[in-house]
C-alpha cells in the first residue's frame, strides 16, 4: 500500500460519498458553455456594456439551474439521463404513453419530441406542455388562461419515469427478499452474503416496531405490509439521491397512495374498541363525549394526511436545498466560493442519506402505531367500585 490503511479508507469513503453530489453535475455541459459564451460576450463588449454584463450572465446561470432543478423534480414521460445543450441531443430512452380518451391510445413519448410536436392518434391530437398531456386540435393550439392551458386533459395512464422507478424498485425488492428466503433454506437457517445485512433490519422492524406497538397477538398480520413499506420508502429515497434524476417519494401523489394504504388497512381491520374510542369513548363524561367525537373523527383522516405530507415535504425540500447548494457552486466562480459550496452540499448530502432512512422508519413506526390502536383490546378501567 502506498498510503497507510486508514487514509485509504478515508479516501474511498470520500469518493463514495461524492457520488451523491456528482448526480447534479449535469449542468456542467450547459452551464459551462453558457459561461464561456457569456465570458466571450463580456470580453467583446467591456467598453460598451460595462457592469451590466455580469448580471446578465449570472441570470442566465440562474435560469439554467432552475430549469435543471425542475427537470429533476418533476415526473417526465421519458427517461433522460443527461442532455448536451450545444448539440441538443438527449441521452436516454422514451417511455410508452398510454391515454384513455374515449378509447385507448398508446404510442411512444418520442413522438412528442420534447413538447414541440403534436401527436395524432385515432383522430385525436395531443400536445405535451410542461410534461402534461392536453387534447388539442390539429395545429396544437393550447388555450392559455393565466399561463395555464385550459384544454381537456385525457386520463393519463402512461408509464412515466416515476412509475418505471417504482416497478424497478419492486423488482429489486422481490429478487432481494426471495433470494434471502431461499438462502435460509439452502444454508440451514443461517443467511450468507447480503442476507447478513438485511436480517438484523428485518428483525428490528419486527422486534422494535411491530411488537411493541401492535402487541404479540396480532402483529403477524401486519408484518408483511410494514416490511414492504419500510424497504420501499427507504430504497426510493436512496434512489432519489443518485445521479439518475428520479424523484419518486418527493411526489405528493405517490406518498398519497402510500398513506391511503395505511388508512384503508387501519380502518378495515379495526375492531369495535377502535370505533368505540373514536365515537363513544369510555370513561369520559357525556358532554365531553359529544364534543370529542367530531374531533376524533377528524383525527382519523388527519393522521394519514400528516403521514403523506411529512414524507413528501421532507424529501422534496431536501432535494431542493441540495440542488440549490450545488447550483451555488456554479454561481460562485471563485476557488473559495465554489469549494465552500461543494463542502456544504456534501455535508447536506450526508444528512439527506440519514433523512432517507429516518423517514422510512418514521412512516413504518407511525403506521404500526395506528395499526396497534386499531386492534387494541379492551382495558378494564382502574376506578372500579
Amino acid at each position: 500500500m502506498l498510503f497507510p490503511l486508514r487514509i485509504n479508507k478515508f479516501v474511498v469513503a470520500l469518493c463514495t460519498a461524492a457520488i451523491f453530489v456528482s448526480g447534479y453535475a449535469n449542468p456542467v455541459d450547459s452551464v459551462q458553455a453558457k459561461y464561456e459564451h457569456a465570458v466571450e460576450n463580456a470580453a467583446m463588449s467591456t467598453a460598451t456594456a460595462g457592469g451590466t454584463v455580469n448580471k446578465e450572465e449570472s441570470k442566465g446561470i440562474r435560469e439554467k439551474i432552475r430549469e435543471h432543478i425542475d427537470h429533476h423534480l418533476l415526473d417526465t414521460h421519458d427517461f433522460i439521463f443527461f442532455s448536451d445543450e450545444e448539440t441538443g441531443k438527449h441521452y436516454g430512452f422514451s417511455l410508452p404513453v398510454i391515454i384513455w380518451d374515449e378509447g385507448l391510445h398508446m404510442f411512444s413519448s418520442s413522438k412528442f419530441e420534447h413538447g414541440h410536436a403534436v401527436v395524432e392518434s385515432n383522430g385525436k391530437y395531443y400536445k405535451l406542455y410542461h410534461e402534461k398531456i392536453y387534447r388539442t386540435d390539429a395545429e396544437g393550439n393550447l388555450d392559455m388562461h393565466h399561463g395555464h392551458p385550459t384544454n381537456v386533459r385525457p386520463l393519463d395512464l402512461s408509464i412515466t419515469k416515476n412509475v418505471l422507478m417504482m416497478l424497478v424498485v419492486a423488482a429489486i425488492m422481490f429478487w432481494l427478499f426471495t433470494s434471502l428466503a431461499k438462502s435460509y433454506v439452502k444454508n440451514g437457517g443461517i443467511s450468507k452474503g447480503a442476507g447478513r445485512f438485511f436480517e438484523p433490519i428485518v428483525l428490528y422492524v419486527r422486534d422494535e416496531i411491530a411488537i411493541p406497538n401492535i402487541g404479540e397477538k396480532h402483529y403477524k398480520k401486519y408484518m408483511s405490509y410494514l416490511l414492504t413499506i419500510f424497504f420501499f420508502v427507504w430504497f426510493l429515497n436512496i434512489f432519489g439521491l443518485t445521479p439518475l434524476g428520479v424523484n419518486v417519494t418527493g411526489n405528493i401523489t405517490i406518498t398519497f397512495g402510500l398513506a391511503i394504504l395505511t388508512f384503508l388497512i387501519t380502518n378495515f381491520t379495526a375492531n369495535k374498541n377502535y370505533w368505540g374510542h373514536i365515537f363513544w369513548m369510555p370513561g369520559v363524561p357525556l358532554p365531553m363525549k359529544i364534543i370529542l367525537a367530531p374531533i376524533e373523527l377528524l383525527g382519523v383522516f388527519i393522521k394519514p394526511f400528516a403521514l403523506m405530507i411529512r414524507l413528501y415535504a421532507n424529501i422534496f425540500a431536501g432535494h431542493i436545498v441540495l440542488m440549490s447548494l450545488v447550483g451555488l457552486i456554479f454561481i460562485f466562480k471563485s476557488w473559495l466560493g465554489s469549494s465552500l459550496s461543494f463542502m456544504l452540499s456534501f455535508a447536506i448530502s450526508m444528512i439527506e442519506v440519514l433523512v432517507a432512512l429516518l423517514q422510512a422508519y418514521i412512516f413504518t413506526m407511525l403506521s404500526a402505531l395506528y395499526f396497534g390502536s386499531a386492534v387494541e383490546e379492551h382495558h378494564h378501567e382502574e376506578a372500579h367500585h
Binding site: 400528516a306 411529512r310 418514521i362 407511525l366
Partner: protein, 66 residues
C-alpha cells in the same frame, strides 16, 4: 416578496425549532439520569421530533408561494 408570507414561514420554523429543541433537551436529561434506557428514549425522541416536523412542514407548505 409577500412579506406576511415570509414572516409566517419564519414563525412556523421558530415554533418547530423550539418544540424539537425542548424534546431534545428533555431526552438528554433523561439519558443522563438513566443511561441504560437510552435506546427507548432515543426512539421516543425521534418519533416526537418527526411528528412536530410533520406539522411544521404542513404549515410551511400552506404558506408557500404558488
Amino acid at each position: 416578496m409577500n412579506i406576511p408570507r415570509i414572516v409566517g414561514a419564519g414563525l412556523v420554523v421558530i415554533g418547530a425549532g423550539i418544540g424539537i429543541g425542548k424534546i431534545g433537551g428533555s431526552a438528554m436529561d433523561a439519558i443522563a439520569r438513566q443511561p441504560e434506557a437510552s435506546g427507548k428514549i432515543q426512539t421516543a425522541m425521534l418519533i416526537a421530533a418527526a411528528l412536530i416536523e410533520g406539522i411544521g412542514f404542513a404549515a410551511l407548505f400552506a404558506v408557500a408561494e404558488q
